[in-house]
């Protein structure tokens, strides 16, 4: 009897002591989690053995034997599944990068429009943002795609833009350029211009810190990065041969075609995400108290410098974290490509390759890992940028 009470006492003591209780709880939860995974993996092993399947990534080096309608690198149906995956990954990256750039530009414009003192502009941006945000992105994609494919004219009656671009239900025909040797000089100037402008910025800042004198930094950067390469391009004698599409018979010859799937996906994602970015930008600018602007005016700064040196740097601190999650959303939403047949990583490895080889586990492991890595890369870049611009407290 007595021994019984002491042992239950001891247990209740263990339970009432904070440290020992946390150890008990953790051991129990660890056992549950481990047990769950053991159960699930055991099931998978049994089920796969029953179907005669194993985990094996060598299928990646078998012939894919399917075509992909948009490839950035050399690919044909005799290439391997690995190459198909690579093409898909590049297509995902292409959409993500272009989409992010486009959405950011449009989003900032929308954010500023929402704060405009012009009633019409403000309401226009409001209606646009509310419509875009409250309709699923998949519908935007399908709508734009449907409009291009069903409502654009046939190839023969394509909209003609200055005989260089043609828009039809097959997509946008555009010219392609082939680089001649002289082009490398132009590109070289461009790279040198970028490097120079970085150095010059640092130099100008150092000089301003020590002497208080300023240079027109933006003007000089613009000159080094844009004007100099353009000048050299024309001085050398335009070393790009343009191949312009032309209507021959039923189809266009020459140039390249930007496919309707690509256009629809890019614009749907960019327009959709821009609406969210617009609201973020608006919130960020509104978060800067009016006193900051007034103080800056009181110090004698011009409105343009107030905006670029006082308001925007502070607003960016509010804007960057939610902006990062919008970039992540855009990248993840690019997987909706599969709804209209744009061949991204989900549609190649996670779609056709999977169906042909029947290797669900391996394909999804690859696709999920790639998306996780992409998410990680985007958030680390944005975190690095955020750390650079955040308030330095001494």
């Amino acid at each position: 009897m007595t021994s019984n009470t002491t042992s239950s006492n001891r247990i209740s003591k263990l339970w009432n002591d904070k440290d020992s209780r946390s150890v008990i709880l953790q051991i129990v939860s660890f056992a549950i989690i481990l047990g769950f995974f053991a159960f699930v993996i055991n099931n998978a092993v049994i089920n796969m053995a029953e179907q005669g399947k194993d985990i094996n990534f060598t299928f990646l080096f078998d012939t894919a034997s399917y075509d992909i309608n948009q490839t950035l690198i050399a690919y044909d149906s005799r290439s391997t599944h690995f190459m198909a995956g690579l093409v898909g990954l590049l297509n995902t990256l292409l959409i993500a990068v272009l989409g992010i750039i486009l959405a950011t530009i449009l989003g900032f414009i929308l954010g500023v429009m929402r704060l405009s003192n012009n009633w019409l502009t403000q309401k226009l941006a409001y209606v646009y943002i509310e419509y875009m945000r409250n309709v699923p992105v998949l519908l935007h994609i399908l709508l734009i795609y449907g409009v291009i494919v069903h409502s654009m004219p046939k190839t023969k009656q394509a909209f003609n833009f200055n005989d260089t671009f043609f828009l039809s239900n097959r997509g946008l025909m555009s010219p392609t350029g082939t680089f001649e040797t002289g082009m490398w000089v132009v590109l070289g100037t461009f790279v040198v211009g970028i490097l120079f402008s970085f150095w010059f910025r640092a130099y100008a800042k150092r000089r301003q810190d020590s002497t208080g004198k300023t240079y027109p930094v933006n003007l000089i950067t613009f000159g080094a990065v844009i004007v100099a390469p353009v000048l050299i391009y024309f001085v050398i004698g335009s070393p790009i041969t343009w191949e312009v599409p032309a209507l021959k018979g039923f189809n266009f010859k020459g140039g390249m075609v930007i496919r309707p799937e690509f256009i629809a996906l890019l614009f749907a994602l960019a327009l959709y995400t821009a609406a969210f970015i617009g609201e973020i930008v608006r919130g960020g600018i509104l978060a800067i108290s009016h006193g900051q602007t007034e103080a800056s005016y009181a110090l004698g700064m011009k409105p343009s410098r107030t905006l670029s040196l006082v308001v925007i740097p502070q607003a960016l601190r509010v804007i960057i974290p939610p902006l990062t999650s919008q970039y992540l959303n855009l990248t993840k939403n690019s997987s909706l490509a599969i709804a209209i047949g744009y061949m991204d990583i989900t549609a190649t490895i996670g779609g056709i390759s999977l169906n042909q080889t029947g290797r669900e586990m391996e394909s999804f492991a690859i696709v999920l890992t790639i998306y996780l890595i992409l998410s990680l890369v985007i958030s680390s870049i944005m975190n690095w940028y955020n750390n650079r611009i955040k308030l330095v407290s001494r």
Binding site: Q26, I33, L124, N134, P136, L139, L142, F364, L368
Partner: protein, 369 residues
């Protein structure tokens, strides 16, 4: 001339000076206040003039309401062919649910409305029981819709249209909130094992697109179940949707938890409350209140994401639309179909976001500094 003398303090109010009130003043200050403003106004007006009339023509004036196929539509006018939507309207609402059993869907919607009212409307009669009812609602609804236990069973593959959107959306919302709260608490836990597990789970789910998770649900989830068990596709999708939205909710709620001063928790401990008591009475009521706007936004996102089930061949409004478009009579009318679905989503999501705004304002007044 009027030479009335007023005793000081008795002067009647004069009308405001001309030019500071009225439509002209409004126009001048809102549209034509500066040269730049005038240019912007003119550009916007020109764009609207170019865009709006063709859209209105297409949508209303030239649209066709009757007809049996696309050719008949095109013969009557070159605007939108709403006859298509009219013909398929019931399909868009009920999916392939057997016609003689559709009263069960209608009844479920009524019960849903009551449950929503019980949760959201603070003057609901006997609100406490209303809450219990709302908690029981998902199970009542499941019984009504799926059948069994006295009702004629309906396979979930017949579910479709707006009804499927509501099933996925409401289930997701109802079950992801408790799970999200648990995950958020787990992420803040002092026990490393629980914390690491929650962080890994949340970050994994948030790092991958929903569509890949849905593909997993449709193609390979059955591998992880005990051999021989089969699982309804809709059920698998619902599980994935709940897990997905719980991970996002957990992050929103974590924001609310982090916004609480540490003193609240310490005070609760000092009063002798144990962990769950302090969470229930002190931490959560405040943290959830802070995160309400974020929670509603996540719900709106979840509701919009229900459209992705059309990609794995479930018959939500988009799935119904795609299937209808495949028929030869109506080929090529995708704009009409998707615009119709878009309007449906706009109305429901806009309504939700307005409610969230109202709630935010209502809760804000109590904290005015």
């Amino acid at each position: 001339m009027n030479m009335t003398n007023y005793t000081p303090g008795n002067h009647p109010d004069l009308p405001p000076p001309a030019g500071t009130v009225g439509p002209m003043h409004w126009l001048r200050s809102n549209l034509f206040s500066s040269p730049a403003n005038i240019i912007v106004t003119l550009i916007v007006l020109w764009v609207l003039y170019k865009l709006l009339p063709p859209m209105v023509d297409w949508f209303f004036l030239d649209s066709v309401l009757t007809g049996n196929n696309r050719k008949e539509c095109a013969a009557q006018g070159d605007g939108a062919c709403w006859a298509f939507i009219a013909e398929r309207f019931k399909l868009f609402v009920y999916g392939y649910y057997p016609e003689h059993l559709r009263w069960r869907i209608d009844l479920t919607v009524v019960l849903l409305a009551v449950a929503i009212a019980a949760v959201l409307w603070d003057r609901f009669p006997a609100r406490k029981y209303g809450f219990y009812y709302a908690l029981a609602f998902p199970f009542i609804a499941a019984w009504l819709l799926v059948g069994g236990a006295g009702l004629e069973p309906v396979p979930t593959s017949d579910f479709g249209g707006v009804m499927l959107t509501l099933v996925v959306g409401v289930t997701g919302i109802a079950f992801s909130l408790p799970l999200g709260i648990l995950l958020a608490l787990g992420r803040q836990s002092e026990l490393p094992v629980i914390r690491i597990f929650c962080v890994t789970f949340i970050e994994f789910i948030r790092g991958v697109p929903l569509i890949t998770l849905l593909f997993i649900a449709s193609t390979m989830l059955s591998y992880f179940l005990p051999p021989g068990t089969t699982f309804d596709l809709l059920m698998r999708v619902l599980i994935m949707v709940v897990l997905f939205s719980a991970a996002y909710l957990a992050e929103v709620i974590r924001g609310g938890l982090q916004a609480l001063p540490q003193g609240q928790k310490e005070a609760a401990e000092a009063l002798g409350l144990n962990y769950w008591q302090s969470v229930r009475f002190i931490i959560l009521p405040q943290a959830l209140k802070i995160s309400i706007p974020g929670i509603v936004n996540t719900f709106i996102g979840l509701y919009k994401d229900t459209t992705l089930v059309s990609i794995i061949q479930l018959m939500d409004p988009i799935g119904i639309g795609k299937q209808s478009l495949a028929s030869s009579e109506w080929f090529g009318l995708s704009t009409e179909v998707y615009l119709f679905v878009a309007i449906f989503f706009f109305i429901s999501c806009f309504g939700m976001s307005r409610y969230s705004l109202y709630l935010e304002n209502k809760l804000n007044t109590e904290h005015k500094h």
